[in-house]
Subunit: 136 residues, 2 copies
DNA sequence: CAGGATCCCATAGGATACTG
DNA sequence: CAGTATCCTATGGGATCCTG
């Protein structure tokens, strides 16, 4: 680790260009399976996806479960630690919404709607939804 | 650009392992000069620092001024666009503070004290301070 | 379907020396 | 003092193919 600074710690855990996108897919697009992550617009490649899923698991941001039943499909779930990243993701989104101009489209920013109305209650609404799924 | 998603936009602007650390140095350690950035604990090297300063300037997150007077020392200042990143930086810090355990030391987390007492007023207090410096 | 293996290229980044 | 330049290595990452 480069330093004991909290900002640096966070950057070392998820400060690459892919980890937060995977968590976004889980949080806002309800993706849970390998091939669902592959189909995102940003087109992550298989070796990077596999690598990041391992990293996220090691950092305890996601957990793996064998799909209940006979198939060996793996389902990924968010941990509480990952759900706690929601404010980080939303603040990045809000910043971009303010400064990106026409580079981002309203449809792509749909997940900001609730927090733009009211940060606190919007945040809570999304967190509750994620926590419910988490328990399933 | 990989996509028109606001999260992705932010990640492409400052989602590397150094940019936010430089902004942190400016925001919380009042660093403004090249050699001050070099002396940070994370030990950035000269080529990376020069590169990131150019990037941050191109993205309009910092501005350069020749130091008033005869010397050709360059002073870097935060733009409003960079000051708007304060919530992002603080949320990352708060998350790490919660999840890093003993890997981060209280002294390193001093810049979280105000927001931990009260997010809204703490945020405003820091923003005001940065805006004042910005005007100098 | 999940993900490992391989190949190959681009970028990141450390170390050091040099320039205006 | 603020970079540039150079060299070299490590990592990131795209493409493709392979395996249990």
């Amino acid at each position: 680790m480069r330093s004991a600074c909290p900002l640096n710690f966070g950057l070392e855990q998820f400060g690459d260009k892919w980890s937060l996108l995977i968590l976004r897919d889980m949080m806002f697009f309800d993706k849970r399976y390998y091939n669902e992550f592959l189909s995102s617009e940003e087109a992550i490649s298989t070796n990077i996806l596999a690598d990041r899923l391992l990293m996220l698991e090691k950092e305890e941001l996601i957990t793996k479960q064998k799909d209940t039943g006979h198939k060996q499909r793996i389902r990924y779930s968010l941990t509480e630690k990952a759900i706690d990243l929601l404010p980080v993701i939303l603040e990045i989104g809000l910043w971009s919404d303010k400064h990106a101009g026409k580079l981002i489209t309203p449809e792509k920013a749909f997940f900001l709607v609730e927090v733009k109305k009211d940060r606190e209650t919007g945040m809570k609404k999304i967190t509750d939804k994620l926590r419910n799924d988490h328990i399933l």
